[in-house]
């Protein structure tokens, strides 16, 4: 088994939370993991991505080769398209639909969502709505992880265990809220 996942967003949105949870789950299962992150200048409101690779075999390149990503998991719709050259012909896009408009020439939302639908097999998630349902807007990223869970190559129960470990320092309530967000995302994916 090998899964190549691009996690995309805007600097400051917290894509590394998603990556860290998948990392933890993969490590618990004894899988090989490589996860390249973006630090530095781009973190200031620029486009950021993480290349995450998990496999039963040794992984060499820290970067996913072009056309080899199984999943683009984006927490901002325009960012989901920026990494399209990495997506394999069978690859899937799972993206939130809420715009992060910090540039003047941001495209029209309807056109943008149509472009995503035409680009690949995709799942569009109103993540803000899901997060609001949990009562904690910060669970946005974990809700998106839930929505993408069927494409990650790791059982949802293992991801849930990793969520509990990841938020262990923050108390039971935060763990429960995040698990709730994860399940809401997952339910949406299975609709």
């Amino acid at each position: 088994m090998q899964k190549n996942i691009i996690i995309a967003g805007v600097g400051g949105q917290g894509i590394l939370t998603i990556a860290s949870i998948i990392d933890l789950a993969a490590m618990n299962l004894g899988l090989h993991v490589k996860q390249a992150e973006v630090h530095g200048m781009s973190q200031r409101g620029g486009a950021v991505e993480s290349h995450l690779r998990i496999s039963t075999e040794e992984i060499y390149s820290d970067l996913i080769p072009l056309g080899k990503a199984d999943l683009i998991l984006s927490i901002e719709p325009m960012e989901s398209l920026r990494y399209l050259p990495f997506l394999s012909p069978e690859g899937v896009i799972v993206t939130s639909t809420e715009l992060y408009e910090n540039i003047r020439n941001y495209p029209d939302k309807t056109e943008l969502l149509n472009e995503i639908r035409e680009s690949a097999s995709c799942l569009l998630i109103e993540a803000e709505k899901l997060a609001a349902e949990t009562g904690n807007a910060k669970t946005y990223n974990v809700a998106m992880l839930g929505a993408a869970a069927p494409h990650i190559g790791i059982e949802a129960t293992e991801l849930e265990k990793a969520i509990a470990t990841y938020f262990a320092g923050k108390g039971e309530k935060i763990i429960e809220t995040n698990l709730n967000a994860f399940r809401l995302g997952l339910d949406n994916a299975q609709k």
Partner: protein
């Protein structure tokens, strides 16, 4: 406990702790910052104590590390590639003195310039100083080679340079640790002549360094980090450092049988390279960075069997990746989808609420009436003031250059000659330039945009916090021309007036524009909340 998911940078830090360092010295710089931060946060660094506070710049860091080595202790010094330019004087001469306690210098290069002004290749510096260079390919090897670097440094009594690129520094993988080695005892060096580089001693030391080269080469010949993967055919690959990963990726996905020589320890193992090269007709040289060794192997009269970045088989610039490597090996790559035209570029920008924003608003207004609108800039978040909507900054070259370039421009006749420099950059390399301007009475306006932190790299301590007024006064700036302003919207008119007064002053003036970075403020309030 022995298996951890670590960034390459963190693997270095953990390995250095396990290798028994007594101190790490560094100035923050992407992609090297996380090494020192990891040690600062590690409970392992508390007992026995490992000193880890930030240095003022890379040169002070390097010299302090050398001093710790003189005392017999192991020390680590870390910087980004351009930081080695700042530390170069100490670095080059430390290969002439040699070391006592193990000294490892980690230099993190930034091919593709993700967060840098250039993509200089630090292996050239290693060759220049004639010391061993280690270039691990993956995170586990990074851990092992960092530990090896300390042993090697003590074995040959020279500093050892460990080079990693951004992609390794900022990528995580599972790392297995080995046993912790205790710190060295305090046993200062007794070899007097070695440390006093008067010409007579330096000549002796230099001769010894030259004589050591053979030993270094033979260590490379037998190094387990340089190895051959057998294959078939007349084509072969020599892959250096992380280039090995991309080569293996392509070999794996295309199921190739191509022979491969992996190099991770320099100087080059000449005999091994020659024996390998003699067997093949067509050899692709895969280097992350400059075509340093491709050039060497090709030679002055160009041996055409070597291909690589120099002859265009691989792209001359930017970091490597699997696709161009596959193409260089004559393999066909599958067609990929293009980025749709609807996708707009999203460059980094100053944070909402950032004090630099209010400074640029005030400065743009204050500059309106002057024919020359140059503002000499420096290295930091505020460099983003070069982009819209501000378009304020005219230059960005190297740490501290804003002040000295403004001085030169003022000497040439530009009025007003104004520059913007961050607090951490000012103490890193700006103070000496300001002294030049004071001594020369060059009419410049220096704006220190002080946000209490080294912001661009993630909010590390800044060496001059709360000291700027005194520093500038001490350097000889007249007290009445050291002005303070708080960059807030409500102070816009007042700030504009302060700027205007000093822009019109025909001498050296400093304006300290002081407001805490919004990112560090957010972090602090989070910590406070958690404490409640």
């Amino acid at each position: 406990m022995n298996k951890q998911l670590l960034l390459g940078a963190e693997a270095i830090a953990q390995a250095a702790l396990d290798a028994g360092i007594s101190g790490v010295y560094a100035y923050p710089g992407t992609p090297s910052t996380e090494i020192t931060e990891y040690i600062q946060k590690s409970s392992q660094a508390k007992e026995p104590f490992v000193r880890a506070a930030w240095a003022t710049n890379e040169k002070t860091a390097y010299e302090a590390a050398l001093g710790m080595s003189y005392a017999g202790k192991r020390s680590l010094v870390c910087m980004k590639h351009v930081g080695l330019n700042v530390a170069a004087d100490a670095f080059m001469n430390s290969s002439i003195t040699g070391i006592h306690g193990g000294l490892v210098i980690v230099v993190a290069d930034d091919p593709s310039m993700h967060s840098s002004q250039n993509e200089q290749d630090s292996r050239v510096y290693g060759k220049f100083a004639m010391i061993p260079v280690l270039e691990p390919a993956n995170q586990q090897e990074t851990y092992e080679m960092t530990r090896y670097a300390f042993d090697l440094s003590e074995q040959i009594a020279l500093p050892v340079l460990l080079r990693i690129p951004t992609r390794l520094s900022h990528s995580r993988a599972v790392v297995t640790r080995t046993e912790v080695r205790p710190q060295n005892d305090l046993v200062p060096s007794k070899e007097k002549g070695k440390w006093i580089l008067l010409p007579a001693n330096a000549r002796k030391n230099y001769q010894q360094l030259l004589e050591k080269q053979q030993q270094l080469a033979s260590l490379s010949e037998s190094s387990p980090y340089n190895r051959i993967m057998e294959g078939t055919g007349k084509k072969a690959v020599i892959a250096f450092g992380i280039g090995y990963n991309y080569t293996m990726e392509v070999i794996g996905s295309y199921k190739l049988q191509i022979p491969l020589l992996k190099i991770s320890q320099y100087p080059l193992p000449e005999k091994r390279i020659k024996a390998f090269c003699d067997q093949y007709d067509d050899i692709l040289i895969v280097e992350e960075g400059y075509p340093v060794y491709e050039e060497l192997l090709k030679g002055y009269f160009v041996n055409r069997k070597f291909r690589g970045r120099l002859d265009g088989a691989l792209p001359r610039t930017g970091e490597l990746s699997p696709a161009p490597l596959a193409i260089a090996l004559g393999l066909s790559t599958s067609e990929t989808k293009p980025i749709p035209a609807i996708v707009a570029s999203r460059p980094p920008m100053l944070c909402q609420g950032c004090g630099h924003r209010d400074l640029f608003d005030a400065l743009n207004m204050a500059m309106e009436s002057y024919p020359f609108k140059q503002v000499f800039g420096d290295i930091g978040c505020y460099t983003l003031g070069a982009l819209p909507p501000y378009n304020t900054i005219s230059t960005c070259v190297d740490m501290g250059a804003s002040i000295t370039m403004a001085k030169g421009a003022a000497d040439a006749g530009i009025r007003p000659a104004v520059c913007v420099i961050g607090d951490s950059t000012f103490t890193h390399s700006g103070m000496t330039g300001l002294l030049d301007a004071v001594n020369d009475r060059s009419p410049i306006t220096v704006i220190i945009s002080d946000n209490d932190t080294t912001a661009m790299t993630g909010g590390q301590d800044s060496a001059g916090t709360d000291k700027f007024f005194d520093i500038c006064k001490g350097l000889g700036v007249e007290e009445k021309h050291i002005r303070l302003m708080i960059p807030l919207k409500k102070n816009l008119d007042e700030n504009k007036a302060i700027l205007k007064e000093e822009l019109d002053y025909d001498g050296v003036s400093v304006i300290i524009s002081q407001r805490e970075c919004v990112q560090t403020l957010k972090k602090k309030s989070k910590v406070k909340k958690a404490d409640c």
